[in-house]
């Protein structure tokens, strides 16, 4: 469902808005004055219609639940141009990260690849498994045949502590 459809029946909630604020800590996001510098330079604007200044305004108005349930927060390419260029240090990128975290906490539908990466890290320490690659002459290589050092998995104690960290809110 698009953002506009979600908004048409939405009611703002201050409680969710406060949750976002708590996650943002000292970041000055309340200062956004809608200059749209973020949106005009946004990598995801043209292809995916992400408008960071709208996200800022919607959170400020308390329409957090709608954003958390929307796909739009997963279209950010994390190029950080909005953080760099915002004259008010309102940093849409960090607002989007906070909203993504809330989506996970609420078990909303999120792109599979993120959870897959997390479980892979729990299991092996790395977000991906080592791949075989081919040369331009179609010879298959891996770390061994390229004489690269072996990958060393983290100690078992890591798993327990990382798991605990994932439960932090």
């Amino acid at each position: 469902m698009g953002l506009t459809d979600l908004m048409s029946m939405a009611k703002p909630t201050d409680e969710s808005r406060k949750k976002v604020l708590a996650k943002l800590k000292s970041k000055g996001f309340l200062n956004c004055f809608q200059c749209m510098k973020c949106t005009s330079g946004c990598t995801a604007l043209k292809l995916l219609e992400l408008k960071p200044h709208e996200i800022e305004k919607l959170v400020n108005f308390g329409f957090v639940d709608e954003l958390v349930a929307s796909d739009i927060i997963w279209t950010c390419a994390t190029c950080l141009k909005c953080v760099e260029r915002c004259p008010q240090k309102a940093s849409p990128y960090h607002v989007i990260v906070a909203l993504r975290n809330m989506a996970v906490e609420r078990e909303a539908k999120i792109p599979e690849a993120f959870m897959k990466a997390v479980s892979q890290i729990l299991e092996t320490g790395l977000a991906e498994a080592p791949q075989k690659v081919t040369t331009r002459k179609m010879k298959t290589c891996d770390r061994d045949s390229l004489k690269l050092p072996k990958i060393c998995a983290p100690k078992e104690s890591f798993q327990t502590i990382f798991f605990k960290a994932l439960e932090e809110r």
């Binding site: 390419a77 890290i121 331009r136 100690k155 104690s157 890591f158």
Partner: protein
């Protein structure tokens, strides 16, 4: 300089040419690399799931670097460089997080050291090794090559964090390319993102971003694109053909890691620099260089 090296996931699991070339060139320029005890994710994909756990992963990496005794850590991946830098700034400025992280690290007998300095390949070569040292070390200048640079996003932004080069007008990679004898061509799309992060959620859009930039470069008629981030390498080189399919265009832009070109200029054999692994059409440039 002795530097701990943190590779991150993407280099260790697929972008082998970057790893090979960094391992080859650094010792030649007086940088001794020490691998960390364990391989770990920097926390980047975890940020979107749980920001605090990402900070913990980065802190654990800094603690592992601390174990090597080196006061410097090389992070050749832009994304890891940003994630670790942001985590470090948070740990150093927020006493509550600082305490929480230190307690978690101590459970494994690890210690966080705020004095470990984080480097990327670009600033380590440009600011520490220095252009004049590199020029002196070059034995085979890469003459008659017109190249363009793609610095990537996350080592440039955001400035408040302290980044590797200017956010809006980065020059260091260009100067490094000139230091090995090639000519640099500036272009309008220089700061455009490669799109790698969108591979996690919107593959077609990710490939469109890659393809659009490559198409613009192709129209410029340059000899190649130089990158220094495994995400950008993955998109522009490994996935160039896919990007072409998405765009409905035949893309033929040779893509190199800077350290591969530096290695060639330092006289290192192509195979040791992983140049057989580049998927973009680099052969014509390579024969020009070795001629």
């Amino acid at each position: 300089m002795k530097a701990a090296v943190f590779w991150g996931c993407r280099i260790l699991t697929g972008q082998y040419a970057y790893e090979m070339s960094v391992r080859e060139v650094m010792p030649k320029l007086g940088i001794e690399l020490v691998d960390l005890r364990e391989s770990l994710c920097c926390g980047d994909p975890v940020k979107s799931v749980n920001d605090f756990s990402a900070t913990y992963l980065s802190a654990r990496i800094l603690a592992l670097a601390n174990l090597t005794g080196a006061k410097n850590m090389l992070v050749p991946c832009n994304r890891c460089h940003f994630t670790i830098s942001e985590a470090k700034s948070l740990i150093d400025s927020d006493p509550k997080i600082n305490k929480k992280i230190k307690v978690m690290l101590r459970e494994e007998g690890l210690e966080y050291d705020p004095d470990v300095k984080i480097w990327h390949v670009i600033d380590l070569l440009h600011d520490f090794v220095g252009l004049s040292h590199i020029k002196k070390a070059v034995v085979k200048p890469l003459k008659n090559l017109k190249l363009t640079s793609h610095v990537g996003c996350q080592i440039l932004r955001y400035t408040d964090l302290g980044r590797v080069d200017s956010a809006e007008d980065p020059r260091k990679l260009d100067e490094l390319i000139e230091a090995v004898g090639a000519e640099v061509v500036d272009y309008q799309e220089k700061l455009d993102c490669c799109g790698a992060h969108l591979l996690l959620s919107h593959v077609d859009s990710a490939l469109s971003l890659t393809g659009t930039k490559l198409k613009a470069l192709q129209a410029l008629g340059v000899d190649g694109l130089v990158v220094s981030c495994p995400d950008c390498g993955l998109m522009f080189d490994t996935k160039q053909r896919d990007a072409g399919t998405t765009m409905g265009a035949k893309l033929t832009v040779p893509v190199f890691y800077y350290t591969q070109l530096l290695g060639l200029a330092l006289g290192i054999e192509q195979e040791r620099l992983g140049l057989q692994l580049n998927q973009s059409p680099v052969d014509a440039v390579l024969s020009k260089v070795s001629a």
